[in-house]
């Protein structure tokens, strides 16, 4: 009992999956305040038990806004499981002097692998051909239609952060030519930079969306960009659904105005536009780019490292900068 009280207190409202997978890693070091296990309604629980809590570890489904923060007067740190931490009102946290950390690059490799996997799949029609074979059509109908060569493709990466960089590195190994659009140019890299995503699209055979969802990037991939990408173009999205104007994307796919798409994220998950279900040139993935045990382990390590740093008055490992 005494030992438990000595451990610093961390509030969790809904446990994020990495916590669930590696719970003992956390409970060895922290006294977890389990709001989700209480029969009390949340605000009552917080008022009763969380008035002196300094750290909150949260799932993407926990909106961290003024309403919540009002109930946590001692809070000084929000540790998000995600890279984007979009569920956190960062301005409100800043106002209250609350630091926010994210997952840093814990998931970058796995997300990049998924982006490349989807890109290969759309070009070489792997999922569609697999389905063709499973339905017995290879023996009855014959060979599947031709795919498209990957080597030599001009790939435009939208958002050259940690994930975009890992994608670029991998695709270079396939002989693709990389260019990018990002908030700012990265002079240390030799890839051609386009300040305008429409120009990037016009000069690319494929766009891979790797950026975060912000006010600037919402519906950034619109009718104009898709038009510039053209009939032979392919879109892969492992960022957030709302970066693309989904209605417009569906129209372009239905009308053959772009060649295909590989999508891990959608505007209204888990709902996907029903027009996409029948399309062989679209690969659909249920927002699983980070869903590996290894990513969960890495994510847990980053969250624990931030909590430890906080409680020992050391600099945070992955603070969110705006």
């Amino acid at each position: 009992m005494a030992e438990l009280l000595d451990l610093p207190e961390v509030l969790i409202i809904q446990p994020p999956p990495p916590f669930t997978s590696f719970e003992s890693d956390f409970t060895q070091k922290f006294n977890i305040l389990r709001a989700w296990e209480s029969s009390l309604p949340l605000d009552q629980f917080l008022t009763t038990h969380a008035q002196s809590v300094q750290a909150l570890l949260c799932h993407v489904f926990t909106p961290v806004n003024g309403d919540l923060l009002r109930l946590l007067p001692a809070l000084k740190l929000v540790v998000s499981v995600s890279t984007g931490a979009n569920h956190v009102d960062k301005a409100e946290c800043r106002r209250r002097g609350i630091a926010v950390t994210n997952a840093g690059n814990a998931y970058s490799e796995d997300v990049a692998d998924m982006a490349v996997g989807l890109f290969i799949d759309v070009n070489r029609i792997i999922s569609a051909a697999d389905w063709y074979v499973r339905r017995g059509l290879w023996s009855s109908k014959g060979d599947y239609p031709l795919g498209s060569k990957i080597s030599g493709k001009r790939v435009g990466i939208v958002g050259l952060g940690n994930i975009g960089y890992e994608v670029a590195k991998r695709l270079e190994g396939f002989g693709c030519k990389i260019s990018y659009n990002s908030r700012s140019e990265r002079p240390s890299l030799s890839y051609p930079f386009y300040s305008n995503v429409c120009e990037l699209a016009a000069n690319s055979d494929a766009l891979i969306i790797c950026c975060a969802l912000t006010d600037q990037t919402r519906h950034m991939i619109n009718k104009e960009v898709l038009s510039a990408l053209g009939k032979d173009g392919v879109v892969v999205n492992i960022g957030r659904g709302a970066i693309i104007d989904e209605k417009e994307l569906v129209k372009c796919l239905v009308n053959g105005e772009i060649r295909g798409a590989g999508l891990d994220v959608f505007e209204n998950e888990p709902h996907i536009p029903k027009e996409l279900v029948a399309m062989d040139n679209v690969v659909l993935s249920p927002h699983k780019a980070v869903l590996t045990l290894e990513s969960f382990k890495r994510g847990s390590e980053v969250m624990i490292a931030n909590l430890e740093a906080f409680f020992s008055n050391k600099p945070l490992v992955t603070p969110v900068m705006d």
Binding site: I120, R124, I126, V133, I272, V283, L284
Partner: protein, 326 residues
């Protein structure tokens, strides 16, 4: 006259009509006199004895007919076989070697596309892309929730079986994902830094995945057997872009059904287009209808490579893609 012009062009023998030859014909017939065995009413043997005794070059398709010792015996002047495939299991290589006949294949053209398929299948199996695609299309994301976890690719030990042109392209790609690459091949390649295993079973024991990139020969037939699959283990993944018969397919299917290996990505099968039906219900298997080489661009490149090899031969220049026969 047209005939005279035609007869000045070097002669290239083709045994059987096929889509590939039809595709090549317009370009080829401007540069070569295509001697078409199938066009003649004579049976093939008689045709060859009558018309092909001075033929120096033969254009062969991976789909057949096989270039056997019997056929080669009827072609005393033959010095070159050009095939549209990477695989050479349809050519009697020993007989070619005996007769001093060079063989040029299509490895260069296809190596990248085949490697892309190999890596694409590997990522698919590890990260369950095709399976979760079906899940979403079946409406299960909305009612059942998240798909089960996949497996990270970085840090995995990948064993490449056959480090030829395809195997090398696969290795190059996987390095960028953070995989560590080892290999088994007919002979060690000391200029490369990948770890060599002389025994495919030992390679399997030390690997998280095996990627089969070698050719089908007597030595490699059913090389991936019960012992190798056992050594690969419950978490192990196998990808095959070589030939179906390199793997003991019956054994592999049993291992997959019993959960004795972790998954498979297969572009080739022992009895195409027939695929063992037990595989249709497995989510940890990705099935590809032998299309590793099938891209529009590859066909164009292939035509150029085949024509280029023939041109080089007839002008006494080095072949573009001489296959090294051991």
């Amino acid at each position: 006259m047209a005939d005279d012009d035609h007869s000045e062009l070097p002669t290239v023998l083709v045994l059987r009509r096929c889509p590939f030859i039809a595709l090549l014909e317009p370009k080829c017939s401007q540069k070569f006199n295509l001697l078409k065995a199938w066009d003649s009413p004579l049976p093939q043997d008689r045709f060859l004895t009558t018309h092909a005794r001075s033929v120096q070059a033969l254009l062969s398709s991976g789909n057949g007919p096989p270039i056997t010792a019997q056929i080669l015996q009827l072609l005393p002047s033959l010095k070159l076989v050009v095939t549209n495939s990477t695989g050479l299991d349809h050519v009697d290589l020993a007989e070619c070697r005996r007769r001093g006949i060079a063989v040029a294949n299509a490895a260069k053209v296809f190596a990248e596309d085949v490697a892309d398929t190999a890596v694409g299948l590997f990522i698919d199996v590890m990260r369950k892309i095709s399976a979760s695609n079906r899940y979403v299309r079946g409406g299960l994301w909305a009612c059942r929730g998240d798909y089960p976890l996949g497996s990270k690719i970085g840090g995995k030990k990948v064993g490449i079986v056959g480090l030829g042109s395809i195997g090398l392209e696969v290795a190059k790609r996987l390095e960028a994902f953070g995989c560590s690459v080892s290999y088994n091949s007919r002979s060690e390649k000391p200029s490369l830094s990948y770890q060599f295993y002389s025994n495919v079973c030992e390679l399997a024991a030390d690997s998280d995945a095996l990627i089969i990139c070698c050719g089908l020969t007597e030595e490699t037939h059913h090389m991936i057997n019960k012992e190798v699959l056992s050594a690969l283990g419950r978490e192990g993944v196998i990808v095959n872009v070589g030939r179906g018969a390199i793997i003991d397919e019956k054994e592999m299917v049993e291992c997959l059904v019993r959960g004795e290996i972790g998954g498979a990505g297969l572009d080739v099968f022992e009895n195409e287009p027939n695929v063992p039906k037990e595989l249709f219900s497995l989510d940890n298997v990705v099935l590809s209808p032998h299309q590793a080489i099938v891209t529009h661009e590859a066909f164009v490149d292939l035509g150029e490579l085949v024509t280029g090899n023939l041109e080089a031969f007839f002008s006494n220049k080095p072949l573009l893609s001489l296959a090294v026969i051991n």
